[in-house]
Symmetry: C2
Subunit: 528 residues, 2 copies
């Protein structure tokens, strides 16, 4: 059977959402502000759901011939989502709803979240949205070329424009204190430059010292992790791990993509992707990382489905959940010991590797040029370098032409290595080319928060490590669900962190946890 | 990297379609009627693209947990598509465009197609669209239950309501002659009850006679086609065949679905599905069938992409292309002989089967209860029975309660068999339960047209059969592309058939082709 979608009359609404008849129009006018607002939010959400699915399909499945129309479709649906959201009807419902929402209620949280987005969406004029889109497209194209040819100069003019536009955007959004705050806030509500600076200053000393101390040790062998691993075995192994830690395949699925990601369009359909490479760790830890994002999203209360309170509250908190499952759980000696028999069953070539060497290989620390391939210890140093540079570029304390030199100098200083090319240096990341300035620190916030949450979890579940060692993840998952996942975006990131850990985000637990783990792994004796 | 879609400001238009700034608004007002109309059509198309992708995903990949939100999203986007299409801005642009379109031009064709849809979309009030949607959902649910439990009485009240609604709808749409014409026209522009009645009257005698003559022959053995065929081999074999006949995998892909279908959202992304069952013919002929639909869609001129002139013109013409590749090409002795070595390579269990028996097994004719499993010869008799019944139900010449008896009596009369249960009888098809009345005859029109087109093709390519025998499909594909595919929806179905074959649709070529093929296969000697 083939039914074309052409006959418009056969495309018909299937639920109450679709009511457009006069009688329902009248009822809608009589509806409460909350009902009117939610109706509008459902409409915006449906367009975002379509956009998310189109993006997912593009990254996972789309044939090359589909690219041109996909860009056009996404562009149109983005514009519609924006128009429906900022329309007078939505704004009026939001105004009216402000008076209805009781203090401390979910309604008040909903109002706050929508108000914040409305402010962001209305402060940026359409002209700038368009300019930003064009610049992102051109910048990205130019960056792809520059990276391939190792020609920073080709990308420099676009980068200059991108930072100029971000300065203008920050002024329109408004901020207190540092101009960086306006941009960071887009990704991490309430995050500030001062907070990031303090975070990295606290980290820098102990982490650089740890990296240096490890560098003096004999290099760890991880060569046994590299080979031609059958895709089906990697698929089976990663799906097994995902299921064990609590990812619900009835409400999601795993596909492959060149760059793993997590996405979704309802609490009942949160999808992850992974990739199958020569390094066995790639698939396993990509899956655990994306699972961390996914179980957070799957853990929202169903009654918030398709509304802005569902889903993770910020990029930093989201990253804390992916890093917690990837690093704290997944790279722990207990986890590796537990998965070892299954791993050897799927990959018989590992049969002779003893547990200790598996653990050391998987946790190998070695300064490298590329952030996305960095180990857990050096990772934040990569982020710190980007933060320092983008801040200086934004405030014109650094000129674009001086970026490559500054980049290399910072790599020498913090990691003890100098990238041989700009492609392996300041041209490696996609973020700036797409116009995203202020995004990077959320990666390090996630790392800090993962250890901060874990320290609290350990107080409530003292034998968490032993549970991991026997493949018991239910109590850990449930603790995270009740403390974090089920709150969705109800609290601000700061409120959530304070509620869960009794203190604001700080680096102590991270430094303590990281140091203890790696001093033990590298048998460094007591910390100096 | 994980980027949530929550920050609305980061969702931005990526091309000219997305321009919403004041200056572009002004330019848009100054634009020609054609530009304004096309802008609106692009918007409607983007929503339809999202709907089509959501439907594809639901049938191929969606986890069960995604169903509820998917229904809500589809409902909202359907409503939006309808609203954007019937909005005053679209109607005004369409009115203005009428004066601009030169006679005989593509513009005139575009105007005709959009005008027709606008009429359909505006004649049905929103209240009825909503009632139809609800009835379709309830009717479908009730039908699923009734079929599972073989209880026609549970479904009868819904069926009664569905026919009542279709009567009302037909009156609103308007028609000349028979009330059936209004409904059939939704699926086959210009199709009439008189045309269908004549079609089946011409077919009935020769086909019933052929079926009876074949029934007197010894039963053909097809047991060798049934087995546990490895999925990967079926996948490889079907993709090979699809590629050979000209389906472009750069502009599509094949997935699996419980009920095979073809869909798409741009000329550059037309997807097919198949299924892997115990009967090897299922995957192979499902793929060839859907490929026929797909190459038709892929053959539209790229400049019509995302506009209503792209894609097949009607369900009947569409079905002619799927049946041409499935039956006339795919089930021919030449095709089977050509694919035999490949088939035996993928499915070694067939190694001992001689070509003649492969051909006879694949073309086995045997009256059966289920339309979708019917062979080429008996297929139209199934359709004819449904046409006769739905026409009588619509005009109240038959009462709903008399449907099962009438169904069984017609099966006895035309096919010589009586369904043992209603589940294998009048409850087998989904169409009526979803509210579709007037759809069935397009299947038979497709069968007739496939032979009518083929007869013309054979005049231009006299050695077409020999080409098939050597795996040469390029000339056949190209003939179909230039005569049919590239015209998309530019002509009405009647105009297209007349242009290509020099005559209106008729049954002669079909009856001659079918009779010749099966008399030869069953060695029946000259026709009586």
């Amino acid at each position: 059977m083939k039914i074309t979608t052409k006959a418009l009359v056969t495309l018909r609404p299937r639920s109450l959402d679709g009511l457009a008849s006069p009688i329902f129009r009248i009822l809608r006018t009589m509806a409460s502000a909350k009902e009117r607002l939610i109706g509008r939010l459902y409409d915006v959400n449906a367009l975002h759901a379509a956009l998310a699915m189109m993006d997912w399909d593009q990254q996972c499945l789309m044939p090359p011939g589909g690219a041109e129309a996909r860009a056009a479709h996404s562009s149109i649906l983005s514009r519609m989502a924006h128009e429906v959201f900022v329309a007078e009807e939505t704004q009026r419902a939001l105004e009216d709803f402000a008076g209805e929402a009781a203090p401390g209620s979910d309604d008040e949280a909903l109002h706050r979240v929508v108000r914040r987005r409305m402010d962001q969406s209305t402060k940026i004029p359409a002209e700038m949205v368009e300019r930003e889109a064009r610049l992102a497209a051109e910048g990205h194209e130019s960056w792809v070329k520059a990276r391939a040819n190792n020609e920073f100069n080709g990308f420099a003019p676009h980068l200059s424009e991108i930072f100029e536009l971000n300065r203008e955007k920050a002024e329109l959004l408004g901020y207190e204190g540092h101009i960086y705050n306006a941009l960071l806030d887009l990704y991490e509500e309430g995050g500030t430059e001062a907070q990031c600076t303090q975070m990295f200053e606290t980290l820098r000393g102990p982490v650089v010292a740890l990296v240096q101390e490890i560098a003096e040790q004999p290099e760890v062998d991880e060569s046994f992790l590299i080979g031609e691993w059958p895709e089906q075995s990697q698929r089976d192994m990663t799906e097994y791990l995902a299921r064990q830690i609590g990812y619900d395949f009835n409400r999601g699925r795993q596909d492959t993509a060149p760059h793993p990601f997590c996405t979704g369009w309802s609490i009942g359909d949160i999808r992850i992707t992974t990739r199958f490479l020569d390094h066995l760790g790639s698939a396993i830890y990509s899956t655990l990382h994306e699972c961390g994002h996914a179980v957070y999203e799957q853990g929202s209360p169903m009654e918030w489905d398709r509304l802005p309170l569902a889903g993770g509250v910020s990029l930093g908190v989201h990253e804390s959940q992916s890093r917690l499952w990837e690093n704290i759980v997944g790279r722990s000696p207990e986890f590796i010991g537990w998965m070892e028999p299954k791993l050897k069953e799927h990959f018989p070539a590992l049969g002779n590797i003893i547990t200790q060497n598996l653990v050391r290989g998987i946790n190998k620390v070695k300064p490298s040029f590329i952030r996305v391939e960095a180990d857990e210890v050096t990772y934040n140093l990569h982020v710190m370098i980007r933060f320092e540079i983008e801040k200086d570029l934004l405030t014109r304390q650094m000129e674009i032409k001086d970026l490559p030199g500054a980049w290399n100098e910072k790599y020498r200083k913090y990691l003890g290595i100098v990238p041989p090319t700009d492609s392996q240096g300041c041209l490696q990341d996609v973020h700036w080319s797409m116009g995203s300035v202020g995004y990077f620190p959320t990666y390090s916030m996630g790392n800090l928060l993962s250890y901060q949450f874990w320290a609290c979890l350990k107080q409530d579940i003292p034998d968490a490590d032993e549970q991991i060692g026997t493949g018991e993840f239910a109590a850990i998952h449930e603790w995270l669900r009740t403390r974090i996942y089920q709150h969705g975006s109800r609290f601000t990131p700061q409120e959530l962190v304070q509620r869960v850990t009794g203190k604001p985000m700080q680096a102590d637990d991270y430094i303590a946890g990281l140091t203890a783990k790696y001093r033990s792994l590298y048998q460094l004796g007591a910390a100096v």
